[in-house]
Amino acid sequence: MAIITFSIDGEHYSAREDQTILEIAREHKIPIPTLCHLDGLSTVGACRLCLVEIEGSAKLQPACTAKPVEGMVIRTNTDRLKKYRRTIVELLASEGNHQCAVCVVNGHCELQNLAYEVGLDHVRVPYLFPSKRLDATHKDFVIDRNRCVLCTRCVRVCHEVEGAHVWDIGGRGINCEIIGDMNQPWGESESCTSCGKCVRVCPTGALFEKGATVGEMHKERGFLKYIVTARNKQQWIATAHEEE
């Protein structure tokens, strides 16, 4: 594998040519915000929070999918990127019903943390206050689409890791929503194994355990690295789990 050299935020780095900008940035502790990305799942580049600037290109690139080439000049934290990232979180906040104060993941929510990170002190666009469906028919879990940001982590983990493929996206445009078993109530799903992986990878309070009260839902995601390492490398290493 060829090794290339390039710069990120003025510093020179080298990496294997098959590595993404995000992987390299994480290796070198360069902060780039993400939402749809989760190590162990396939990459979709959907949320656009990890966009970076590449010199000589007018187009911004998602760090999770873009790979550097020799001599590339990458910037991860310009004023333009900060503005865009804040706007993305603002739009996410306005198009759902994110009431942190009474949410089951209050205090341990990736969207909430992102809002702090990008300095979201208010939302400049009107809130849409959509009326979205909450499905509590499953005996252990609940999906509240009001809190869903359509990151599709649940879709991917169920298909790629559990192999059950319960979840999909239904609808179009702003009416897109997560559906199970071709839009059946979760409790009636024949494909769901009730493993709870979707609940754990969900970055917000959209998927949670039934009976959880305000701020009570903690999402432990170490299992994912453990399973993926075992599957890809045939290494059944419990430490991979513990490191998380």
């Binding site: 909450l134 005996k139 039934k210 305000v214």
Partner: protein, 479 residues
Amino acid sequence: MTMSTTITIAPVTRIEGHAKITIQLDEHGDVADARFHVNEFRGFEKFTEGRLLWEMPGITSRICGICPASHLVTSAKAGDDILAVEIPETAEKLRRLLTLAQWLQSHALSFFHLSSPDLLLGFDADPAQRNVFGLIAHDKEFARRGIRLRKFGQEIIEMLGGRRIHTPWTVPGGVREPLDPARRDAMLAWIPEARETVGIALATLQKMHGKYAKDIPEYGNFRSLLVGLVSKDGGLEYYDGFLRIMDGNGNTIADKLDPKKYFEYFGEAAESWSYLKFPYYKPFGYPDGMYRVGPLARVNICDFIETPLAEAERKVFKALSGKAGVVNNSFYYHYARLIEMLFAVEKIEQLLKDPAILGSTIRSDASINRAEGIGCSEAPRGVLFHHYHVNKDGVIQKANLVIATAQNNIAMNRTVRQLASHFLDGRNGKITEGMLNRVEAGIRCYDPCLSCSTHALGQMPLHVRVLDADNHVVDEMMR
């Protein structure tokens, strides 16, 4: 002035929320009617439809920043009912502790921060001074003690639930965290000071009873039904027990009523001029079924108080009633509130010294076992009901919240009318400060929480209007 006149006081100050008062005069300048308007609207009952039962304590506690713990406990009790569980002994004791801490901090706020400026500085003192800052200037130590007493209540809530306001610690089935001995000891350390402060407040109030002897008979002095919880053996109750209804002559007209059947006993009327509903006792109809709840009702209807100092004080309180057997004067809400603070301090000490308070079994687990549940407890301002209907998955289909302040609504209107009739000089159509101050103070006796009762949010400036029969403004005042 030839026509009849309406005087409006809006908004009313130093209450929890936003309201105005209008006083309608007849053509002779006498008070024809008085209305206490509450012009806030929040809609909790509507927007909680579709949410989960387990979220309800967290959501409904957001109704109010003063007594979130009361909503939290009552909502969790409605949840217990739907799960059809009996909660562990420790959980019940911890919830009782939380409820009393809530009483203490809210009553301290009402007495020291909101009402003491009237009582100590005088109803006619300069409004710029007649507030908690004026109180600090007047008697620093008294104010400091009041603020610290409230802090005691708040600290118990914080030590139990992790935060002073809007802790989500009480849940359907019990509570979330046990109490550790270190925090128990920290709470106990407060008791001597708290007891002393309530004693000072009681002595101060007794002096005020002498000072305002002439005014007091006009402060909402009328017979009404009194409603509240009593314990199984008839004692003062705050968390559980039965409903008792007493009339203005001291006759118990209904006893041992199951709080879960409140809707069989009480109806809610609505008036076009207020967002605050008008609950009434069904057998007597509206508005004759007027009733009062809260400290005045609770201390009146109970047969005894289980703690010694509060019981001794209750007997002094009851002696005020003379032949009637019931203290009907709303001014004595203040006195009843202080007696309850004394009880709260004594009872908190008892609970903390009970080894069961440190137990680790605190949460009963169950799924949805009933389609309907009702929670009831005594909030600082009176008996509070949360009534939920859920589907088989625990999703709220319908919620009804019956709030203490709403239950005092008819009585508050009656109090305003009485005060206005007595203190208003209607002949020249002019609003006098003295009348305004007393009408406001009359409302303040009830310590109304309009944020709770309309489930609404508000502010507190003061605006007064006088209108004639054709609703033309004759006089207007703002501060």
